[in-house]
């Protein structure tokens, strides 16, 4: 498998604060890779090191399977933390500079501005833009030269709901072209909706990484209750199709099924056939949020 990015034992200290602690993972080509973590978990620090604007304390990275150089960064479109442009220059002039640095000949500046709905304001100065417009200009800049890899740090930051939906649609469309997208976010919902792979970070350490289905597996769970809890657990364990039986809250018993296969009528019938009368039966969807909180707390 080809990896766009490999991170090997990366650590970064700011004085006594350890922002990254021995983080390692790989981003396969062609994936939409989400880096998920609460504020201050080290997402931006890590992207900063990848982009050579921060120095790692130890460990290293590889881009496209090679030691990173400026040349590799030109093949990536990156929005890191905030939209950074020359305030006194127009959108078009700012994009001209970005294109010149990236070494893009004949950049399709009008095209990328249209993609982010900024074409009408192309000659306005950057300093007159709203936060959402600045963010969209930054995304337009990332698209210049049609790079193989896109890196977005909180891409929907500062956007209104319509803008958020537009950017997500854009990201999905870009992903369909076979490009690799690396996206840092503290919004679970965003990662769930857009990403194929995810790395979860907390306080500079990597908690888990892999495909979204694996990591944020959303199974069906039914909460059951009966007078005799021990017997209930035994009976449920014998039920075909279940994946896990565990003690829940307040003497309840939780039984898990693969996603979309839980059937409460069958469950009730099974218990009844084995001499158990349920006094509680409820379908519980374990939300992604609960999973995330469970992992990061």
């Amino acid at each position: 498998m080809n990896y766009v990015l490999e991170i090997n034992n990366l650590s970064k200290n700011y004085g006594s604060v350890q922002a990254l602690n021995n983080v390692s993972y790989k981003v396969p080509a062609g994936t939409v890779f989400g880096i998920l973590g609460p504020n201050g978990s080290g997402k931006t620090t890590m992207l900063g090191i990848i982009m050579d604007i921060l120095r790692a304390t130890s460990g290293g990275i590889q881009l496209f399977g090679e030691t990173p150089t400026a040349e590799h960064r030109r093949r990536m479109g990156t929005l890191l933390e905030t939209p950074n442009f020359y305030h006194y220059m127009s959108a078009v002039d700012n994009l001209k500079i970005a294109a010149a640095i990236k070494g893009v000949d004949n950049p399709d500046i009008e095209g990328v501005l249209k993609k982010v709905n900024l074409f009408e304001r192309k000659d306005s100065k950057f300093q007159t833009f709203s936060l959402g417009m600045k963010q969209r200009l930054a995304i337009a800049s990332c698209l210049l030269g049609n790079p193989e890899v896109l890196v977005f740090d909180e891409p929907t930051n500062g956007l209104d709901p319509v803008g958020i939906a537009e950017i997500r649609t854009l990201i999905k469309a870009v992903a369909q072209e076979g490009k690799t997208i690396i996206m840092a976010s503290h919004l679970l919902d965003e990662v769930e909706k857009v990403c194929t792979h995810v790395a979860i970070m907390k306080k500079g350490t990597l908690l888990a990484s892999g495909s979204v289905d694996e990591i944020l597996a959303n199974d069906d769970m039914a909460e059951t209750g009966a007078a005799n809890t021990a017997q209930l657990m035994q009976v449920l364990s014998s039920m075909p199709g279940q994946t896990k039986v565990e003690a829940g809250l307040n003497g309840k018993v939780n039984v898990h099924f693969p996603i979309g296969t839980a059937n409460l009528a069958q469950l009730n019938q099974h218990c009844f056939n084995h001499g158990i009368v349920l006094d509680h039966l409820q379908m519980k969807k374990k939300s992604l949020e609960a999973k995330f909180l469970e992992m990061t707390n």
């Binding site: 604007i53 030109r74 020359y86 305030h87 006194y88 220059m89 127009s90 970005a98 640095i101 990236k102």
Partner: protein, 264 residues
């Protein structure tokens, strides 16, 4: 490097502050020299004793010394320009974005150093043209004799601009860099050699070794030359040049090292 300079040109072209400061510098060079020129004319009209025999300070070849010295008082302007061009990048965080978009750290700092040389060269050209015009208007015959002062002025500008660049790289904020540059250049840079004067008497470089002061030492005070020389004991220009070159090398080394090593 040509491509990188083109990118810098795109940044500068639309930057109004740059053009205002640059025009002010040109106007100020003409203005400050015109003021001293007219004072000199009036003095000569009333008492013909000063400047007798050796030719007036605004006649070739003496004018090269006079006008480069006068103009060197204005070298803070080119310094301000480089400070704004560099601190802008920090303010807009475009120093990060330029690296992210695909410049290497070395390219970023090297093109700024190139810019510093270009600004110093442009300032020198302004002064050269102004001096030639004043001299010709004054009516004496143009001569390249004494032209070494134009070369000294270039070195002096380079020192001022590179020192300003170092401050900008270290402080990152325009107001702070401008303030410290001004106070340092006007006061501290002169006070330290003054304090150390008694240990420095008899040294070949005299009191001229501080970052900016040594550059000033290349351009001696042009008026009342005989009397002044006895008091100030101007240093040997070649020794000054040597120290200047050492500073230039240091500024390059420090700027590159700083920008390559630190978190941006």
């Amino acid at each position: 490097m040509q491509k990188l300079l083109q990118i810098e040109w795109m940044k500068v072209r639309n930057y109004r502050t740059f053009w205002i400061l640059a025009s002010l510098f040109v106007a100020a060079v003409v203005g400050i020299n015109y003021i001293s020129y007219s004072i000199n004319t009036q003095v000569n009209n009333t008492t013909s004793a000063i400047g007798l025999g050796t030719g007036g300070p605004f006649e070739f070849p003496k004018i090269w010394n006079t006008m480069t010295w006068m103009s060197s008082l204005l070298l803070y302007f080119p310094g301000f320009i480089i400070i704004f061009l560099i601190t802008n990048e920090y303010t807009f965080k475009t120093h990060r974005q330029n690296i992210i978009d695909g410049l290497s750290r070395k390219q970023f700092v090297m093109v700024k150093l190139n810019l510093a040389w270009i600004i110093a060269l442009a300032s020198t050209i302004v002064v050269f043209v102004a001096t030639a015009l004043f001299g010709i208007i004054d009516g004496s015959t143009f001569t390249f004799e004494g032209m070494e002062y134009i070369a000294y002025f270039f070195v002096c500008s380079l020192i001022y601009v590179l020192f300003a660049m170092l401050l900008a790289l270290m402080l990152r904020k325009a107001a702070l860099a401008v303030g410290i540059y001004f106070i340092y250049g006007l006061i501290i840079d002169n006070i330290i050699p003054g304090i150390l004067r008694k240990y420095l008497d008899g040294k070949p470089y005299g009191t001229y070794f501080m970052p900016l002061d040594v550059a000033d030492g290349l351009l001696p005070f042009p008026f009342f030359k005989n009397q002044i020389d006895a008091i100030l004991r101007m240093p040997n220009p070649y020794i000054c040049l040597g120290i200047c070159v050492a500073w230039v090398v240091f500024y390059h080394w420090f700027s590159i090292r700083k920008f390559e090593k630190e978190d941006l």
